[in-house]
């Protein structure tokens, strides 16, 4: 049963299994294990990023295609819900409608971009998606009447999901179970379902063909698989999943703006997570996203302390500044591309064998 649920894709490493179970339990019981608003924010962000990163891994790790338009699809999903909730008021109808519209638009756009640029050369795809995504971000900030421009959109979500709603009058294990906790569980279960669905996709015959294409596109074509169609379909699936992750972040934050969904910084974060976690393993997304977001939220404090200690030393305090943490991540990223191309998960699996 359990094996079926994870589509027969076992972690294949004891350490990895323990880490994954710990993350799952930690996220499932987050409101009770780590009470407090900040840790709940962190946990929800981890759930959403796991989906976002896993959907990107479907493209980068399993199909060997580099796209820079992933946050564009993420943003389309988020804006779909945001615009629907903003225009129609809080309710489940607008959420469903916005999510469906966002996912459909993302899939359609991915189809067009894929058919257009994947047939020429894989390297074109990276450049074209970069250009299209930045044009889209500019367009969103220009169409301020529709999208709120640079300020983004604030909107209300159904009352059941807001802190004002109380499920029980008493506290449960010392935690008051309010709408915010319900909203967290909504995000958590939606993320879990999406993640398991993607795990199913990569372990299906379709996923195997993608990996064959990644290893040798020419040979795959020779066996009779239409490489363009498979790549394009992978692009569409990944875009749809990213849009649904966008829906989740729009509901969780009750705000959608260019900085939270469309910015190139998020794209770079996603790229870093996939590579550090491990390309071509869905579990890499889980481990990578958890590490990255916990580090983003808590490691920066440590760097701040280190920067204070070294305040007198000119350059050292500069590179230890908490705002410079991308410097260290960038170095780690380059090193991991060269030294551990399979990322954290790949290393853990090798150790076993």
């Amino acid at each position: 049963m359990l094996i079926r649920l994870i589509s027969g894709d076992r972690p294949r490493s004891l350490v990895l299994t323990i880490v994954l179970v710990a993350i799952l339990v930690g996220l499932a019981l987050a409101p009770f294990l780590f009470p407090g608003t900040r840790s709940l924010e962190t946990a929800a962000r981890i759930c959403i990023f796991i989906v976002l990163v896993a959907s990107y891994d479907l493209l980068l790790g399993y199909s060997g295609i580099v796209s820079f338009a992933h946050t564009m699809f993420f943003g389309i999903g988020a804006y779909g819900v945001a615009i629907a909730l903003n225009g129609m008021g809080p309710g489940w109808g607008p959420i469903l409608l916005g999510a469906a519209a966002g996912a459909a638009l993302a899939a359609a756009l991915a189809l067009v971009i894929g058919l257009f640029s994947l047939r020429v050369k894989a390297i074109f795809f990276a450049m074209i998606t970069l250009a299209v995504a930045s044009a889209f971000a500019v367009l969103v900030s220009q169409l301020s009447g529709f999208t709120g421009g640079e300020d983004g959109l604030n909107y209300r979500i159904p009352r059941v999901l807001t802190p004002a709603f109380k499920l029980f009058d008493q506290r449960v294990f010392g935690v008051s179970v309010n709408g915010r906790v319900l909203c967290y569980y909504f995000v958590f279960f939606a993320s879990l379902v999406l993640f398991l669905a993607m795990l199913r996709v990569v372990n299906s015959p379709f996923g195997r063909v993608l990996q064959a294409i990644r290893e040798n596109a020419f040979r795959a074509e020779a066996i009779g698989y239409r490489v363009v169609y498979y790549r394009t379909f992978a692009n569409v699936l990944s875009a749809g999943a990213a849009a649904l992750a966008g829906v989740l972040i729009a509901i969780w934050l009750r705000y959608t703006g260019p900085a939270t969904t469309l910015s190139l910084e998020i794209m770079i974060d996603v790229l870093l997570i996939v590579v550090i976690g491990g390309m071509g393993t869905m579990y890499g997304a889980v481990v990578g996203a958890t590490l990255f977001i916990v580090a983003q939220n808590y490691l920066q404090n440590l760097m701040g302390i280190a920067a204070d200690v070294t305040a007198g030393v000119p350059i050292l305090s500069g590179i230890l500044d908490p705002n410079r943490w991308l410097l260290w991540l960038g170095l780690l990223f380059i090193l991991s591309v060269y030294l551990f191309p399979t990322g954290v998960v790949g290393r853990l699996r090798e150790r076993k064998s």
């Binding site: 450049m127 970069l130 250009a131 367009l139 790229l271 705002n323 410079r324 960038g330 591309v337 060269y338």
Partner: protein
């Protein structure tokens, strides 16, 4: 046994066939003419066209190195934007240090300061290009995926280092006194700096063509783009050639960065990354590996960006995407397909 009976005849290529390679060149005046028709006013059109040409020239300077590096070694450098930023920061720092010369009321001193700043920027980015090639790019030959990833990582690191060295705030810079102000032709006011940018761009393009078509190194580079293995088989070290082109391309990115910084009059660490989007569009339009295509593509993008910014400001960047799509529909590998799809 006699030879098979056939009589080859030499037929002159039809005019259409001989014109075909020149068709892309005709796109630039065509776009300018469409722009004139759409804008209507000749003086506005002239101002916009010069602005567009100036922007195109600067983009060309930044893009030419990238396209040659790709053509020669099949290496795509997503970190090219880092050189643009570093060039701008080094150049602007030099200009600020030479403020006595830039503020002086003497054309010669102004120009000298600008040239010194450009030289400083080009040396800095050239040296950086050498290190970047050795440390970051070299281990990733042959794998596009790795190249994209590591050069992107290099871009992040360099950008962060700029923050560490120059601080997180944007730096404002005013142009040397001679390049401020504008000239008027009839009703049209044209900024002096844009004319200077066009002149520098044209000179550079001419110099590049001369080097590529009239010198031995240029011959080797072109041969390397066409068939690197053959050049190697003839006994030339293509590696060394490649490092040279990489360093030259990085230095050009530095030059472009200084010019772009003076054009915008503000410089920020992500500026290179932002311009890179236009650079990629240009490189794709021109055809990866083609300097001529890159030149035409840059002019098209510059002109279109300025016309559309005047006619419908909201869709300026989208118009460049539309241009790219239109060109790729017509020629799927860009205006001049030098490097065959691999």
């Amino acid at each position: 046994m006699s030879a098979p009976d056939h009589a080859p005849t030499l037929v002159r290529a039809s005019p259409a066939e001989r014109l075909a390679p020149w068709l892309p060149v005709a796109l630039v005046p065509l776009l300018a003419a469409i722009g004139l028709a759409a804008i209507g006013e000749a003086s506005t059109w002239l101002t916009l066209s010069v602005a567009g040409l100036a922007m195109g020239m600067m983009i060309f300077i930044m893009a030419s190195g990238l396209t040659l590096v790709f053509g020669l070694m099949d290496v795509i450098n997503f970190g090219h934007g880092a050189f643009i930023s570093v060039g701008a920061f080094v150049g602007v720092t030099a200009l600020l240090a030479l403020s006595g010369m830039t503020g002086a009321d003497s054309v010669a001193l102004n120009i000298a300061a600008l040239i010194l700043a450009i030289i400083a920027a080009m040396i800095a980015t050239g040296a950086m290009g050498y290190v970047f090639e050795r440390v970051v790019v070299m281990p990733a030959y042959g794998s596009h995926l790795k190249q994209i990833l590591v050069t992107m990582g290099g871009l992040i690191v360099v950008e962060q280092l700029i923050y560490v060295i120059w601080g997180p705030d944007a730096i404002f810079i005013s142009r040397p006194a001679t390049l401020q102000g504008s000239l008027t032709f009839g009703d049209a006011a044209i900024e002096t700096y844009r004319i200077a940018a066009v002149v520098i761009g044209l000179l550079l393009f001419a110099a590049m063509r001369l080097v590529l078509t009239r010198t031995k190194i240029g011959l080797l580079v072109r041969a390397g783009v066409a068939d690197g293995e053959m050049v190697q088989a003839l006994g030339y070290r293509i590696r060394r050639l490649f490092v040279m082109v990489f360093v030259a391309g990085s230095a050009l990115a530095g030059l472009g960065g200084v010019m772009w910084g003076l054009y915008q009059q503000t410089i920020t660490a992500p500026m290179g990354q932002e311009v890179m989007i236009l650079v990629f569009i240009v490189v794709i339009i021109g055809g990866l590996g083609s300097v001529g295509g890159c030149f035409i593509g840059a002019l098209l993008v510059g002109l279109l960006a300025n016309y559309v910014a005047f006619l419908a400001p909201k869709v300026a960047l989208v118009s460049n995407i539309a241009l790219m799509v239109a060109i790729l529909m017509w020629r799927p590998e860009g205006l001049y397909a030098v490097v065959r799809a691999k």
